[in-house]
Every structure is written in C-alpha cells, then in structure tokens.
Symmetry: C2
Subunit: 120 residues, 2 copies
DNA sequence: CTATCATTTGAATAATTGTTCATATGTATT
DNA sequence: AATACATATGAACAATTATTCAAATGATAG
C-alpha cells in the first residue's frame, strides 16, 4: 500500500508559463496596488461612504453630519480623521466650528461607477 | 462650586437646520450606500486588487494567479470566492482547471480613477 | 476502481478596525 | 479668570477578516 500522496498542487513548473510571465511583467508595482487597496479600504465602510455622499451636497460641520447620519459626534470625528488622512476631505475652521468638504473630484466619478455596478 | 458641566455637544437643535434638512433629503438610501461600501470593501484588500489587475491582462487559472502573486493556492481560492460572490469575476471549467476572468467593465474604470487619485 | 492533480472548503489563529466612553483641546463669551 | 460648546483624541471592547493548515471535492488518465 505505497500510497503515493504527492499532491503537487501546481509545484515548480507553471501550468501556463507564458501567461504567468507576461502577466507578471505587466502587473503594476506591488506598492502602487497596495496604495489602491488602501484607498478602497477607506471607501469600504458605510459610515464613511455616507459622510462622503453627504459632502457631495454641501460642506458641513461635524455636528450636522452626526445629526444627518444619526450617529455620535465622536464616531463621525474619528471617521473624518481617516478621510482626512486619505486626502479625501479638507476642512476650514470658523470659530468653534470646523467645516468639512470634499478634497477631490475623482471621488464622485468613482462612486458613480460603483453605483452603476450595483444597479445593473 | 456649581460647575455646570452640561456639554451640549450639539444637543437637540441643529447648528444648521436647513443644511441638515436638505442633505438628509438628498442622501441616497442607507441600504444602497451600504451596498456601495460592501463593493469597495471587496476592493480594499491588496491581494484581491492584485488578482483583479492580473485578470485585466488575461484569464487565468488559480495556480497561475498563485504563482504570479507568489502566494498559496488556497489563499487565492479563498479570495476568488469573495470576488465571485461580489459578481466581479466569472469562471469556466476546462477539465481539472478552472479559468477566472473579469465579469464587469466598470471595474477597470473604477480602478483607473483610483490610480489617478493616488498619482496626483 | 485507483492514483493524481487542480481546486475548494472548513476550522483556527492573528491582525485589523469601528464604535463607545471618558477626557482633552481649542475657541469664544462673560 | 471661568464657563460653555464644538471638536478631537486615547483606551478598551467587540466584530470582522486574511492567511494557514488539513482535509474534502471534482475530474481525468491508467
């Protein structure tokens, strides 16, 4: 009973060497793709999506955003921090109040495409 | 020492009632925005981003993808499952081998915009 | 049927992350 | 000064998740 359980599982040689080679060449730098994933990770939370969509309409202060989303001011502030670090929102201070707005035009385009994907 | 620490923290009445009202009206359904976040969550992992970018070039079997990304075949399979559930990839079987390819044209557009945001 | 190989799946583990609570800034008013 | 209020921040907790390992399918050839 010499069960030869080798289970190569696609060992050394490729199944399709030429495809592996050309795709490996054309694939963008790992670091760039990592940054892309990081950007999408920021979009990948419903609270942040709702904040950005709210800011599509108008600049807003933290309190107003919290009221529109029916969430804690602290929770909103934490998420605005994430959006700020990703350079997706900018802010201006007026007295005690801080007003946030969108920092980038690409955002709306990206969201529009996402909507289209979901709708179809 | 009657320290009146009330800390309203934007209590009942809005700071900007008219903005809160109009934004609340225009904001898309929570469910739709939740779906948008779910889609971006799928894009928010560098392994999946690399898989999708690889598939931009050519359809590929699981083993080849694993070799291009220098990762376990099992890890790739798990992620392909996520991409499949999100209707982002489709597959065809040919004997023992399963070939994956992109299921949607929006993906490339979304990624292009993401690249632009990062580059600028 | 058995052996082999590509792929899938399930459980376990480690790491990441969103919210809450409490507290700390910062700014204006008295 | 002290008070009030908008916002920010830090620690803690719960929940989610990507990878690994082991084992199970599924498919073909002998």
């Amino acid at each position: 009973m010499a069960e030869n359980i080798m289970n190569d599982i696609c060992g050394n040689e490729s199944t399709h060497p030429e495809i592996v080679r050309t795709v490996s060449e054309k694939l963008p730098d790992v670091e760039l793709l990592y940054d892309v994933a990081e950007l999408f990770k920021v979009f990948g939370d419903s609270t942040r999506v709702r904040i950005l969509c709210a800011l599509f309409e108008s600049e807003m202060c933290v309190c107003d955003i919290a009221e529109v989303l029916d969430m804690t001011q602290s929770a909103i502030s934490h998420q605005l921090r994430v959006l700020k670090q990703a350079r997706l929102v900018k802010y201006r201070r007026d007295g005690k109040t801080v007003y946030y707005s969108l920092a980038d035009d690409h955002i709306q385009t990206i969201f529009d495409q996402a909507f289209e994907h979901i709708m179809e």
